[in-house]
Symmetry: D2
Subunit: 405 residues, 4 copies
């Protein structure tokens, strides 16, 4: 057991930290101003300057870091995790700038692993090149997202085509017109065994019958700069059978395979958000006076800072261990830990962000600091792939099983 | 000691509940749709249908209920509190519909108590009639709002005029063009004793030098329908000396007088928000299925509901007792209790709303339910008139003083 | 609605406060020293000086205050509650000194309401006179105490006798040899409807087959001075049929009737314990120095004091309202509130005591301050008549029912 | 970075686990029964069967595992930590059985590192052999234990002797007559710089003027079986100058050196206690029925189990990382982490134990399960070497310093 990063990780961390300091953080204000202009004009999508950052990141060798194998940077989960943490310090900019943004990351992994040659040529290549975006259409308004057997969207074979009917919502990125393809989860066989009913098909954005209806909000945020979170209708949407990803009935298994790395990424970005929050808080309370001294002297604020540090250190280690387990024992071997970080990370980081907001006063609620938006993001993750409560129930049952006769 | 409302209160409660059921709740969807249209067109202010609701409320004798004395409904704090709770069930609509919305309520009380005859004629009358709106400009970006001695805005006498210079933000309602007058707090004498430095002046919206710069957001919400929360610049703004409210150096005392009732109102509306959240949660979990049964059967959700009920009951009683104390012992006699409800109410109701959101899944985050917006409102109140921590410190010092030699 | 105590209550509060100041608090140290001597000699029971305090209390008209009707002080629940709070400031001494200690209080109410003439003569009279003590034998090691249908103790009619068999534990007071009678709950008819299976019989201490086996501890406390918490065996214990309390099958109903007032008493004593904790904390932190100033200046400690005050004020009001509801609407009308205080009071006061302990350093854990013992008492009450979770579940179900079609 | 134990650790873990399963757990009931008999006879010290366990442990090569270097097992902190965790599963028996119990562990390290040849011969050798016990006398009733500059005990040179005067309390182990020597911290030079005023001397138990006055309790527990927690008086206690440990003025530095490993040990044992609690809880709720099914089906209980698992996993990793840092970067390099685990471990494990107690009902409070006693131990550790709040303050200041200009 030891706790130091390997050389490759350290080298990439240094390179990425330099990119953050030299390019990302200095661009934050302009990014949000441009984004606001785009939005005021009715647009949904990133501000123009993102393209410059992408070019810069690529030239620095900071591109597709998330992707294992030859198509990407070829990192292990344990090597990528600390990079995702660093990106989490500016989560609206760094991930898309390095082509490491959800949901494209998961979609690229999925296409790399399960996509046909044609699917890879048509969608994976431009995604890898950062030319298009994609969406993952699973969540439905009428079904608990944690219970895949509840999915109501149907995918029915009709000759050489699949016909898709259903309503999805909170489909991240889908408001962005450059989001060219939807990976859609639906049921091909409602009578099959519980986890063999679902399949995934690729639906190009311009397919007749597909309507991107409206952007859902998360608290008051529409997250327009990364394509929002859309309600999407599928009404007799027809795609060729060749758009099936993997095999019929394989949808659930593919979704599970997609989850593990996704959670590591989310959780490590959350750790990075927490670090950013602590940093902003320290600076604020050192510079701000009240009642005759800097806020940093207040015992309650010191208590928040210490608790934040203590919680971050524990959380980070568990995420890293989970990454290591995935690398060494596979997703199944890391099942408990993956669930544990899914439970721990959003709640922990939400708490830290709340304290950071409190330390900032009204400014913490506002658009002038990233804290409230980060908070909303962390809070929303308490629902990702099902609410905390479902994950806790499942984890508890596994724990109980260990102690049964 | 007894715990039943008096007859007048019961009669008004029944009347107000009928108005909520017959007029307010049925109008909620249309209200938010109209508000979204106004906003999309770049506007800041209420949707047109609010005027109909105002007319209806007035015809039902539900108007200016908050205002003691002959100008208003003449209710005690204890009589008004349960009405404010009911309004809290639809806090974006019911208060303005009954002309009981902050910050006008506090401003009307202030003008009724401290305003000159001319000030009352010019501003109080149209406010009482619901014809114009007003703002209360105290909070500054560079000063802890809890520490009035930090206020940087200057109000300097120059002949027959006061000259105002300063920057304010989170000035609620100020983006609404019908917000015709600003009650501005600033320093007239920085060398006076600590609580005699401040004064208040009335500044009409169209005074040269006054710039309403931008709407601040609260967790992504701009609250456009009630006039937003503006950043406002005062650059050599000149008003006649007759615009002084009360006397020079009296600003701090007036602000304090304004606080007590305001907190009762806020806190009782929060109680009403919490009741709404519990009601929505119960309906949701009774109708929603997961894992083979209604969510209502889940132990964790039952735990939330029970905890919510237990906390609401305690909180409501403390707010009501505080109202009673203010009526019988005055604001000073209720000092500890006023501070206690300021600490307890936002935190308690924030917790309840968080659980309600969690029970709703992603819908709870969205614009389709009021929960996320209510949460942001409750969270923001943890800063109102200073963060919780300042109030706790002050309350603790009073407690400690009781035990000193 | 108003929040002042009536004259009788104020008069009794003053008298009781004087007794606390003049007699109880000054005797605390000697009480615990004597109790330790008794215990070291292997005894279980109160220290001798308690008799003096009882005589004094009686002479001051502070006797049987808990008991409504002519046999006792004739107070309403709302009148008695603030007196119970005061007693809670010294909960090992004040209740027995005034003959207001559990479980005798509940047993006396039970005998006064349901006892036969002979039962009242034999047991109620000496209990009212403070000459003997009694126990209430309901809880069993093998049954969730919250689920009366699980009770395993059998009470079988055999001619003119009932035969009792079973094992009970945590029978408070039973180690005290002066505890002369046990009110025993068992099943007379396991085939009857769920709430008609149970009956109660009186079992004198010296009945053959009754074995008081050992004192159970609560954390490390054996509570010897109030007779401990015994494990008690009933092996073919025979009592005459005249020892039945009320009617066969009436045990559950009698137990329920006993609960309401008992909870008010417990909860108000808890409020008094919390007040004591705050008082001790304030004195401690004002007098204790660390890092160059009194602890009272530490922000975190001020935060605890303020939170404690805010929570106590809310809790007390809910207990008082519950008492008022019981007086005006009966136990059934106060069902929700009785359950709410059962949930709220132990948890709230446990939190306050924990912070008081923390403010005292190691002394807070020790026998030199009452805090750790009070904490253990509050913690144990989270199980009284069933754990919190059962009460929450029941309360939630009632809340949900209100929202069903 | 990787997360597997090395071979030596795995081998020792297996050996220790076998010892726990074959010897320690089977002896638990008898241990506590014997201990109760010893105590009832007025004794303070371990039950006789401990000697058998010590012999057995020694024969299995499980002896002095904590001690680095040739005198002990020569393990690194990272190697010993997982062994300490295992011992924590039975913390009253396993540590003394393997001669790895505090405070002897710290005292042996101290003597090994700073002791003179004579001191090592006289005290270290018999301690290593498990023949005698020792105490560490630092904490004083009148000084915040976290603030060494407040220590009131004086150590004054008088010719060839030091004269010790002062009062200590919560001196663990000191009630045991076989505790032969006290390591006493006092001030030799109150005028020296703040951290050079203190020295340590060895005081044999039978030195005139040393009075072991009484056992202090921790939530009612006197912990007699490991020698209790004594109040100790030093009145003109004279020891030869050769009893000085290290140099005059070196007391603070020695105490600091003693702290690091001690905290690792405490924290890892706490992790083991938490694992034990989860195990007992799972077994209990699987076997216990209420309301028509095993408790294990209750959602709230599943929530506790899941939360416990999630917190344990995070906590353990931070303790292990701290051990690794101490091994690789020294105590100073691990300063933040040592403080972080001191803050995190007792609070986390206290929470887990509280839930385990709640899941056990009244049994959880009793002497029939170890949970309440473990809880009291964890709670007490929130004060060890100063309360949490002092550690948080210090940690926060270091965090703030990183962000200063």
């Amino acid at each position: 057991m030891h706790f130091a990063f390997d050389d490759r990780t350290e080298e990439l961390r240094a390179r990425l930290l330099a990119f953050m300091d030299e390019c990302v953080h200095p661009a934050e204000r302009a990014f949000h101003e441009q984004a606001a202009q785009v939005r005021a004009a009715g647009g949904w999508g990133p501000p123009p300057l993102l393209e410059d950052l992408k070019a810069e990141a690529r030239s620095r060798g900071l591109w597709n870091l998330f992707l294992p194998g030859e198509r990407g940077a070829g990192l292990t989960n344990l090597q990528y995790a600390p990079l995702a943490e660093i990106m989490g310090g500016s989560p609206a900019i760094a991930p898309p700038a390095t082509n490491c943004a959800a949901p494209d990351t998961g979609n690229m992994e999925l296409l790399a692993e399960f996509g046909s040659e044609r699917q890879r040529a048509e969608y994976l290549e431009p995604l890898l090149a950062g030319e298009i975006r994609s969406a993952f259409a699973m969540t439905e308004p009428e079904a608990a997202s944690s219970d895949a057997t509840n999915i109501a969207t149907s995918i029915t074979r009709d000759g050489d085509e699949y016909v898709v009917n259903g309503r999805k919502w909170y489909i991240t990125g889908a408001m962005n017109p450059n989001c060219r393809v939807f990976v859609v989860m639906g049921k091909t066989d409602p009578d099959a065994p519980r986890h063999r009913q679902q399949s995934m098909v690729l639906v190009p954005r311009d397919t007749p019958g597909l309507t991107v209806r409206r952007g859902m909000t998360v608290f008051g945020y529409d997250d327009a700069d990364h394509g929002g979170h859309a309600e999407v209708l599928f009404e007799d949407v027809r795609v060729p059978v060749g758009n099936l990803v993997g095999e019929e009935g394989g949808g659930f298994a593919i979704a599970q395979a997609r989850l593990g790395p996704g959670r590591i990424h989310h959780c490590m970005r959350l750790v990075g958000m927490a670090e950013r929050a602590v940093e902003l808080t320290c600076r604020r309370v050192l510079s701000r006076e009240a009642f005759g001294g800097p806020l940093a002297r207040q015992g309650v604020i010191q208590d928040w800072i210490a608790e934040s540090r203590v919680r971050i250190e524990q959380l980070r280690l568990l995420v890293l261990k989970t990454a290591w387990l995935m690398d060494t024992a596979g997703n199944r071997g890391a099942h408990t830990e993956i669930q544990a970080i899914k439970i721990a990370a959003p709640a922990t980081v939400e708490w830290i962000l709340d304290k950071a907001i409190q330390a900032h006063g009204a400014a913490g609620l506002s658009q002038d600091y990233p804290l409230a938006a980060l908070w909303a993001g962390a809070r929303a993750l308490r629902f990702a792939d099902g609410p905390d409560e479902v994950h806790k129930r499942s984890l508890a049952r596994r724990e109980l099983k260990r102690h049964m006769g």
